[in-house]
């Protein structure tokens, strides 16, 4: 397909503006741009057709099943989009005076309260713009907490070898060193190894629960005790909260700081890679370090206030407000019972999908999974040469978005499935049938899988060439 630059013709334009009503101001020529500004020149109809064609070469959760593990691709309700686009939310300047933004402040305050209740935390900031940004913010809170106590030697963050890549990367961004802790036979944290690595230099342990294997970390209380006894804090990566809303709260499990992904758990759309929103909750002892400003209710009025011990600001304004509107609309529509039902159904769907596949696609034996599960295709690969990648790419021909591939790193030839609660039984049955068929085909006609997809927009791309000879514009 041609780029918008390739369909551009000098002399065309899509949008016109009101004529100037005052005298034109001219800058000194020395300030003016000399380089020609190359932007598309298209009529409105050309523009619309171009982007419509692009949209048909995209695949969203509204197009079909999207079991992308760890990403919680649930349905994005349309009423949330509509209320977020109300003019009183979109046409408001962030630096308006207090009495003209009471609606926004009340909304943020209500959302903070609801998220505290769901996570078992005492205070929350809505400022971070995405999950990794939340991790970064949460780790800075932890750093400030230790520093404030005069405990300057806590320079290390412990991260399980099964963790998301953002965990160690965020720790470094927040000025920490990273220590890895091994997984045990049940793919949880190895308690003996944890005892070995914790110490006076431990700032915190970062953990997801359910883990990245989609299993509940049964030893969570022991882990909490080990880390806290060593003087460290426990950080909850909220990537997997969709399994346990209304069932168990991070705060009750012993976590001190948590980040959430509103664009996963709370149904706000992911937009092809953002905007997201990554609120960070904490226990009372860390509240004073939250990014400035925080919202307080003073009588009947909501206000922004600054805390002296705050870590500062992590983005320019107050975070992705438009995303917050959608998340609160979701929470208020479902209510406490509805959120619990959503989590339970997410777990039901995952276990049903797993039950339909696990004789062919082996996963952790003998345990129920939570909202997602990880299969290893190592045996299939050894026997047929067909890899996790081949199976994933073949799913595209069945109009199903592939699961997460090759993650977590501790499982070989991993495929991670997260169906979410909003899928129906027929969709799951169809996926089971497709995947069972692909397994059979791996033995009969592996070549067909190696060269999949056959009905995609493109065949498999040459990633090595893209990185060696970068064409980036």
């Amino acid at each position: 397909m041609k780029t918008i630059f390739e369909i551009s013709r000098e002399g065309k334009r899509a949008v016109t503006f009101a004529p100037l009503t005052v005298e034109e101001y001219k800058f000194d020529e020395a300030l003016e741009r000399k380089e020609d500004l190359v932007l598309p020149a298209v009529a409105e109809v050309d523009l619309v057709r171009h982007y419509m064609a692009l949209s048909k070469r995209a695949f969203g959760v509204d197009d079909g099943f999207y079991p992308l593990g760890s990403c919680t691709m649930k349905y994005n309700p349309k009423v949330n989009e509509e209320v977020a686009s109300l003019e009183q939310f979109t046409m408001v300047h962030p630096k308006q005076d207090n009495d003209s933004i009471q609606g926004s402040l009340e909304l943020m305050s209500d959302l903070s309260g609801a998220l505290c209740e769901i996570t078992g935390m005492d205070a929350i900031t809505l400022q971070p713009c995405a999950g990794a940004h939340g991790e970064y913010t949460g780790l800075q809170l932890i750093k400030a907490y230790h520093k404030d106590r005069g405990d300057d030697k806590r320079v290390k963050i412990i991260v399980p070898d099964s963790a998301h890549g953002t965990n160690p990367a965020s720790a470094v961004m927040a000025g920490f060193q990273v220590v890895s802790v091994k997984s045990n036979d049940e793919k949880g944290v190895d308690l003996e190894d944890l005892k070995n690595v914790v110490g006076e230099d431990t700032a915190a342990l970062m953990l997801t629960n359910p883990t990245t294997l989609g299993l509940f970390e049964k030893n969570i209380e022991k882990i909490s005790e080990i880390v806290h006894n060593a003087g460290g804090l426990l950080y909850y990566d909220g990537a997997n909260l969709n399994a346990v809303m209304g069932v168990v709260r991070p705060g009750d499990m012993g976590f001190d700081v948590v980040h959430l992904n509103l664009h996963k758990t709370f149904s706000t759309p992911h937009g092809g890679g953002g905007p997201g929103s990554g609120p960070v909750g904490c226990k009372a002892a860390l509240k004073k370090f939250l990014p400035n400003p925080v919202i307080v209710k003073n009588g009947e009025k909501y206000e922004f206030v600054n805390s002296e011990k705050s870590i500062g600001k992590v983005t320019g304004n107050y975070g992705n407000f438009g995303v917050m509107v959608k998340a609160l609309a979701y929470i208020y529509t479902l209510g406490g019972e509805g959120l619990k039902n959503a989590s339970q159904t997410a777990v039901l769907n995952a276990n049903y999908l797993k039950a339909g596949l696990e004789d062919l696609y082996p996963t952790e034996e003998g345990r129920h999974c939570m909202h997602e599960f990880v299969c290893s295709l190592q045996k299939l690969k050894d026997e047929t040469g067909v890899s996790a990648m081949d199976i994933a790419k073949s799913m595209i021909d069945g109009r199903i978005h592939p699961p997460t591939m090759y993650f977590p790193l501790i499982v070989h030839e991993a495929l991670m499935f997260e169906p979410t609660e909003t899928e129906n039984k027929a969709t799951l049955d169809n996926a089971i049938e497709l995947l069972r068929g692909l397994y059979k085909k791996a033995f009969e006609n592996p070549e067909e899988l190696h060269s999949a997809p056959h009905t995609g927009q493109i065949k498999r791309p040459d990633d090595v060439r893209a990185a060696r000879n970068p064409i980036l514009k």
């Binding site: 034109e24 995209a58 300047h93 514009k473």
Partner: protein, 430 residues
Amino acid sequence: MADYLSLTNEEREEMLKVIGVKTLDDLFDDIPSHLRVKNLNLPEGKSQQETYEFFRELAKKNNVYDSIFRGAGSYDHFIPSVVKNIVSRNEFVTAYTPYQAELSQGILQSIFEYQTMICNLTGMDVSNASHYSGATAAAEGCLMCTDKVKKIVTFDNINPDNLEVLKTYLLVRGVELTVLPSKDGKACLDTEEVFGGVYIESPNFFGLIEDVAALAEKAHEKGAMAVLNANPVAYGILKNAKELGVDIAVGEAQPLGLPMSFGGPYIGYMATTAKNMRKIPGRIVGETVDTEGNKAYVLTLQAREQHIRREKASSNICSNEALCALTVGCYLSAVGKEGLKEVAVASVSNAHYLAKGLEKKGASLKYKGEFFHEFVTVTPGKAEKINEALKKANILGGLVLDNDTILWCCTEKANKKSMDKVIEIAGGVL
């Protein structure tokens, strides 16, 4: 209550049977019962109708001003209908990050086109797929300069929010941040210090156009890099980052088609020279070919990124602002070179008209330098009063900086009539 689920009770029973458990609760047997929560203390669920009505009422507690003369980081520009229409397509809105190139060519191409437009605007060689906001792009742009010398120099005339974010991002990494005093509102790189990078905003917080080329040259003489944060609308008529000789171009692209939305979602643009290609944080889309030799787009240079390099990554950024990048791409395509120039010229001309009008009523301009579409007036003791008077006419005046000074902003949405009204009302106070 709406729940957005799609299973009947019979289907649930059937599924439990297949799994081999009696109740839903059995699936949670790994969770110790004493840790379980009984009920969440949240309002009862609502129907969609009630949700809509609830939020419509809540929204009424905000005020939408008829005209807006405030900027300071968020700008009230006209957004063409076609932009809003295109970016609401569900295929774009409900997709994840385009990890699977074979069914994400549309999103990848939209980002590739965005990158091209950002490169063309700034004159830089490489753009990423976006950053969270102008402030975070600025902070991570500065971090790119700290490989050798862990010190960044900037000025007291940058946006205070950006300064706060710089502090948060730099200090925690052990990078020193020196804030030099400005002279008559403009940056002055008068220092003997050795630093890794200089961070400049032009137009700066007060709207003044800096002598960026001279500042960048000074930085280069010291072996440091120059990071420029510019309002992208200014690139419609003013010299671009390449012409000014800077190494890293960052900024807030909200003025290019995104509503003010109480501060977000916005989008940080970030571009640099070819030399820094493997240092820039965030997603980058590249062009390649598929196994049949057809053109294909992929996420590339991923060896910089967290999911590959973990603690050795150039940044932790994962999700960015893809839908906002789509919006910017669509806006720039809709207005084109001529349209962006018109927006810039109208904003600048309106700002100069308003400044003159206020001067005639007794306000004075705080700074002498050339300004873009923002400027600071001095009206001793009257700043708040002017804004209060404007508010009565449902006009959002400039940002009050202190008792005496106001930072004003005009966009193409202002016109002679609306500005004359501001001048008249302010004149009544003065």
